[in-house]
Amino acid sequence: MATRARVVRMEPPAATGGNALLVLVGLSVVFLLIVALLGVAKSGGSLISESNFLYVALIFYAGAGSLYMGFGVTGTPRYVRYASVATSIGLVANTLAVAHRWYLSGRPPFASIYEMLLSFVWAVAAMTLIAEKKFGVKIIGSITMPLAVVCVILMQLLPSEVRPLVPALQSTWLHVHVTLAMLSYAACALSCALAMMFLIQDGFQTETFLAWTSAMVSAIYIAIVATRFEKWGGLSVTGWNAQTKSDIFLGQGMRLFVTVPDLGWLFVIAALAAIVPLLLYFAGRVRNDGSFYGTANKAVFISILLQLVVVAAFVLRVRDAAYPSPDQDGLFPTSLAASPFLLGGMVTGIFASLLYLMLLWRRADLQGLLPSADTLDRVTYKTIGIAFPLLTGMIAAGAYWANRTWGSYWSWDPKETWAAITWLVYAGYLHMRITRGWRGRRAAYFAILGFGVVIFTFLGVTYLLPGLHAYA
């Protein structure tokens, strides 16, 4: 702790330096826009199209995210000003994308996971600006903007053509249900970001978080290596039958595994890299020496880079490829859909590590720029106070609609069940807060957990747990 405090004091006053990032981000934005413009001019397509608007939104969201993060690291207030300008431009482009799609299809963009994400990103960006202008939580964009960027990139992988509404979706309740869902999810995202701001402001021990994060990431990778590492450094994944859209089965409960060569080593390296910060943490505790933590933080950074490399390699090699199996002759196709839990584990690991990196920003000058911990705690609660009734309304509208479409208001479909779980988690938060007086850190952890469940309900269930709710 002492070392960090000294570092802060030795730094130059925040306001003087820090044009570099601004120039860099500005140039990148301009460069990307020009490249995109040239691309459009070359292909002769229309400038006014949803994908172009979305691309512009992506560029500005990414720029805004970098500036917000830059603000988090350097504390230059000017960054935030430009970041919120960039967010506003991104929001305008996003609105145009939504409007263009709405105009073309003649209905609000609520009918597929792509359209849901389009609306969700819009709601998140809008709420970020509201939180910034109304509550003065300036740095919240450093969490919500990367989220928006990830969502927009994810959207590029999804089928985006405008499809006419299938019969089940032709209902007024679609609009009610989805609007409520998007608003409540965005409010949940905001409450999570606010809770993280609170943790930064609250001055808690980052070391404990370091230990938990690296323990979790290590556990994920050790589990993967222990169960999936094959001879000569391969990684075994489940074979995928594209026709039936299911795993390939050899017999009862026996899946066919194929071996992706060399990928196993990468996972071993990632596992080792994840253990290093944990070991450094323990060394620091045993020796009672704070300098170990600084090294551990650098090790976390390396671990994150490696995790990104591993995920990228995994995606590139497993996506729509074919590999031999040790059990049967011939090549068998693979698909990302066949390894939902591997992917889920890896993505969770990256998010947890990034969360930790963000918490490392806690610094004296940053704390001065944020609202007080008490205010953040209260605003987090207020945001959940908005999200919870919306969530209730979303579930109620969904149930009423299901009763008109599926013949039953509740059929324990995975999406329904997880919506109910989300509701219960936030209900738990409210009870602990109101009757047990949970404030501050515990409440903040709870809010972050709640948003994790929301993300699982929103995206995880759609891809991992198929059911009636197949539209999104």
Partner: protein, 491 residues
């Protein structure tokens, strides 16, 4: 702490009236529900898929713990029952206090109560009655109801808004119980099943989801069913023209679509699926040629004779989706639509002689009937053949659903009140301050959204202050000269 039998109910009460127990139960419900989504579930997943996904041993254990049908297992229902019990007991424990608070609001202003209030301001006044009057005017101007309270000879004002909001939390919990009650009633007395009807068919026996069949006290007739497509060929609308038939009389009719069911006597008929029956032809468009070479179009429906001329009738009697011909005979090969074959019967009215004619459009041949005066032509394309439409109706009886909707509405209202209605209270009393000078003491409290209340409280204080100022401007000299004023008035 002797353990006696009589203490068991008390212990149970103590355990379940505890919020911690409630939270533990909620966590268990969450875990069980999550398991129910990760493990493949019985009614939705068919047995083959389950047998494929899990080894026999695993499946046996999953079944033993009812993990393959979590949401209908006794232990999950018990868990929900315990949650309800916990909600009831916790609410009962807390309700009397809350009710006392609601029914008899605390209007008094003891010094220790005043000391504990979060918002308080002292405004100097000359005279208790005038000060309170000014405060009353200010409050009324701002829309607060005002009550005069006399306590220990200290005249005071009490004002509150939205007292009802303290009851909201009980409304929300009661609504949850209402929803559970609706679910229990539906589980016990409700049923759901499936009814498939061909065009023109009437049915009153549904296949229950739980297995078995159920006969309805009335029948449903399907007049027509169909699918409308978008320009790109994807389905736009499934519809069925249905009628309720009872004792041979048609009572009600409706065209249902996917989001709009037919409701009759608590039973709902949903458009659930639509398909074409490969085994049944609805209509066939062909042509026949007379001896003189005259070609006449002919539309046939299954088993409905059509007069060719005054001598003979023809009817469509056979349909094979996938047929093959051997030795001049037509046989069925499979149920897939591949090589269609239509069997016609031509009946001579005078002799009652029947001849069979087979149309095989895929091969372009017509078998039989060579010696007849009538020649038949094959249908020219798919547009001439209409397979019978079948509408799949989901039927459900949910007698508890109105409790559920009532509960849902109540919960939305309750949450709205609980989160957005603030119980605000103000106490105003004229007392001497620490130095013994007379002041108007204004205190306030809100049960939530404290910063918004602070604003409102400041508004009230400002209102009273300006009201006091006005009074001191106008009435202070007036009060001094009050008798003279009166005299002047008399003069």
């Amino acid at each position: 702490m002797a353990f006696s039998l009589s203490s068991i109910p008390k212990r149970i009460h103590k355990t379940f009236a505890n919020l911690r127990t409630g939270i533990v139960l909620l966590i268990l419900v969450v875990i069980a529900s999550a398991m129910g989504t990760f493990v493949l579930q019985r009614p939705a997943t068919d047995a083959d898929r389950l047998a494929q996904a899990y080894s026999p041993n695993t499946l046996r254990w999953l079944d033993r713990f009812m993990l393959t049908d979590v949401f209908h297992s006794w232990w999950f229902l018990t868990l929900l029952g315990l949650v309800s019990l916990s909600i009831v007991l916790v609410s009962l424990d807390r309700f009397p206090n809350a009710w006392r608070f609601y029914a008899r609001p605390y209007r008094k202003t003891d010094w220790h109560f005043r000391a504990a209030l979060p918002h308080k301001v002292e405004l100097p006044i000359k005279n208790a009655e005038d000060g309170l009057n000014a405060a009353e005017r200010a409050l009324k101007k701002l829309g607060w109801p005002v009550e005069r309270v006399a306590y220990k000879n200290e005249p005071s004002l009490y004002s509150e808004r939205h007292r009802f909001s303290v009851m909201a939390v009980y409304i929300v919990h009661a609504s949850l119980l209402l929803i559970f009650a609706g679910g229990i009633i539906d589980g016990a007395f409700g049923y759901s099943g499936f009814l498939a009807l061909h065009k023109g068919q009437t049915g009153n026996v549904i296949e229950l989801r739980s297995g078995g069949k159920k006969q309805l006290p009335f029948a449903v007739k399907c007049y027509a069913a169909g699918q409308d497509n978008y320009a790109d060929g994807s389905p736009k609308k499934w519809w069925s023209k249905l009628a309720v038939v009872q004792d041979g009389k048609e009572i009600e009719s409706k065209e249902i679509v996917v989001n709009d069911p037919l409701v009759y006597r608590g039973l709902r008929f949903y458009q659930s699926s639509y398909w074409l029956d490969n085994h049944t032809v609805d209509s066939l468009q062909i042509a026949w040629v007379a001896k003189n070479g005259k070609e006449t179009p002919l539309q046939l429906h299954m088993n409905q004779p059509v007069a060719l001329d005054s001598d003979a009738t023809v009817s469509l009697v056979d349909y094979i989706p996938d047929a093959f011909v051997r030795d001049g005979q037509v046989f069925k090969k499979s149920d897939d639509i591949e090589n269609l074959a239509f069997g016609l019967e031509v009946k001579n009215r005078a002799t009652a002689e029947v001849s069979k004619v087979w149309l095989l459009p895929a091969q372009g041949i017509v078998l039989g009937g060579e010696n007849l005066n009538y020649q038949f032509k094959n249908p020219t394309g798919a547009q001439d053949i209409a397979l019978a439409a079948v509408t799949g109706l989901e039927v459900s009886h949910e007698p508890g659903q109105w409790l559920v909707w009532g509960g849902v509405l109540l919960m939305c209202a309750g949450l709205g009140v609980a989160f957005y209605m603030v119980h605000m209270r103000l106490w105003i009393v004229a007392i001497p301050d620490a130095k013994g000078k007379l002041v108007l003491w204004v205190g306030g409290q809100a049960n939530k959204n404290r910063d918004r209340f602070e604003q409102k409280f400041n508004d009230v204080v400002e209102g009273i202050r300006s009201e006091l100022e006005r009074e001191s401007l106008t009435s202070r000299p007036a009060r001094k000269e009050q008798p003279e004023l009166t005299l002047a008035g008399v003069k």
